[in-house]
Symmetry: C2
Subunit: 343 residues, 2 copies
């Protein structure tokens, strides 16, 4: 199996995506090629030995061959026209905008490239924290109460402390905990830097947080349950380092019943919207009740460090990708109408 | 203003999109060019005088120049390399899959082409009838009670009659009214032909239905309220003919209060998810209460026949398209980490 890692993209997590792909270079044992999407949304085919952060921060990547995405795949100009870049499967490693907001899924679907990653609907539901809540509640999984404010709005009806988040970002960017009314405006302004809309939730001191990654191949494959260590919550720089993780972390200390309850909640969320993706669900547990906090549809370095045998998970998932419905265009109606009109 | 009409796409409504664009050719007074997306998802630049259904059903369109969509727009190969196809604004006239499911919006956003049409989130919410309901309820607009079944499921808990719809299609394709239990399996099988998931709602005999199209430019611009004539509901062939409509229809006979109530409901739905799009909301009115039935994010021939001055609406909308957030990629984190590592 030859895997194309697609990374970069225009998002606040562009650099995280680079770090994440470099981590996967060592973890994934399959043959790999590397497709970088730069700040102009141009694609480059990067040599494996140049897969280091400096290649990108120094703009050396521009020396590599450009690729065009069109019907059937990525093409490279050649003397005789163009040459298709061969691979069996693409792994979407673009975090945040582009990769997790539906754009990459759309383009790969449109141009018929097989990929591991969230589909269009899964992306939109996972990326927008309001939609995540509406979806989770419909699937029978609780989420915290919330308010959505729009740019220009500065009033919350919640008691403090609260947590303020841009509606559509991951990686803790633009997120603040607000403990007193006089700090709210500043926190909202920070969040409005990143999104027109902001989500407010109560902030629960010391809440138990559990992360569970997984996917559905023939059966569900789950990671260990991780209890993320945190100083209140991970800030961007800590998460950034976190994204390069390739070492196994230690299992959360919870009993089998709770672990199973988390897995059942994961299954309800996953089925079948997230088919073809390996996602990480971040849950809260409050008085033994499970709440979904967020869905990471392209988790940092694919949460490889949470799995016993990550390569096997990718292998299994790659043979269980959702089938695409074929629609035949046959001009039946136009032909029959033309016939009826005698044309 | 030079407008590019983008039409075709791989969907059950491919032919409807052709008919719709041909209708718009006569209605829109601006300079226009025509970009066709064929059954292989290849783009062709079609001459105005060839904008007739036969050009497509006979595959004559293949004689026209091919276009490549890439960073910045659509490009045509020329002797000296390639030439950008110039236009000010694209009008997304692809109905159903591709055009209304988020793919076209994604690609135009990705490659930075300005367009009138639903954005990615608006597409996904409008296209999936379950997501439409979750969203509408969150916005304070009622919808009918429902069940979602998946392929292989054949049991409904509703009393008959019910209406069975593929979860993700428009244009009445695959939709059946079921009056007795023994007809349910067949109706479901028909719907499962078009989607893995099926929506079931109670069918309300003689329910009042009102269609209202509009958009938000500086202010909201609304069409007249139409009360669609129907024999139960429009089947595909009738809707097909309907999509070529360019003549004004007559206004629904409702009082000012009800009309205003419909407009208020429309505003709640539209704001701000549907920014940049001209949509049609189809409502039910049951005992003076408004229910959202569905959202058409790319209505047939842009519902031009419902507006007093359609060209003016397009003009207004074109100057109120949502601004795209620019994200700067500056490699700040990678550089600071490299520095810290002494590299």
């Amino acid at each position: 199996m030859k895997i194309a890692l697609l990374f970069g993209g225009i998002s606040y997590e562009h650099e995280i995506s680079i770090v994440s792909s470099i981590a996967l270079k060592d973890v994934l044992k399959y043959e790999k090629i590397y497709i970088f999407c730069d700040e102009k949304r141009e694609f480059y085919l990067i040599d494996e030995k140049s897969m280091k952060s400096k290649t990108f921060s120094s703009y050396e990547y521009k020396k590599f061959p450009k690729l065009n995405l069109k019907s059937g795949g990525f093409y490279q100009k050649s003397l005789l026209g163009e040459k298709k870049t061969e691979f069996d499967l693409l792994l979407n490693v673009i975090h945040g905008a582009d990769g997790e907001d539906g754009k990459i899924a759309s383009m790969l679907d449109f141009f018929r490239v097989d990929y591991i990653g969230p589909g269009i609907e899964a992306s939109v539901i996972g990326f927008n924290k309001l939609f995540t809540k509406l979806y989770a509640e419909q699937r029978g999984i609780k989420t915290l109460e919330y308010e959505v404010l729009r740019r220009g709005e500065y009033k919350s009806s919640f008691d403090f402390p609260i947590i303020v988040k841009p509606l559509r970002l991951g990686s803790s960017i633009g997120v603040s905990i607000v403990r007193k009314a006089e700090d709210l405006e500043y926190a909202l302004d920070v969040a409005y830097e990143f999104d027109e809309e902001v989500l407010i939730e109560p902030f629960i001191e010391g809440v138990k947080e559990y992360n569970l990654a997984g996917c559905k191949a023939e059966d569900f494959v789950f990671s260990i349950v991780e209890e993320p260590k945190k100083e209140e919550f991970l800030d961007f720089e800590k998460k950034y380092l976190d994204f390069s993780r390739t070492q196994r972390v230690s299992k959360a200390n919870i009993d089998k019943d709770k672990e199973n309850a988390l897995k059942e909640a994961f299954k309800k969320i996953y089925s079948n919207l997230f088919e073809g993706a390996l996602i990480r669900c971040d849950f809260f547990m409050i008085e033994d009740e499970i709440f979904l906090n967020e869905i990471n549809t392209v988790p940092g370095s694919y949460a490889n460090y949470l799995f016993d045998d990550f390569n096997d998970v990718i292998q299994k998932l790659s043979s269980s990708l959702p089938s695409k419905k074929e629609i035949r265009i046959d001009y039946r109606y136009i032909n029959s109408i033309q016939k009826a009109k005698g044309k």
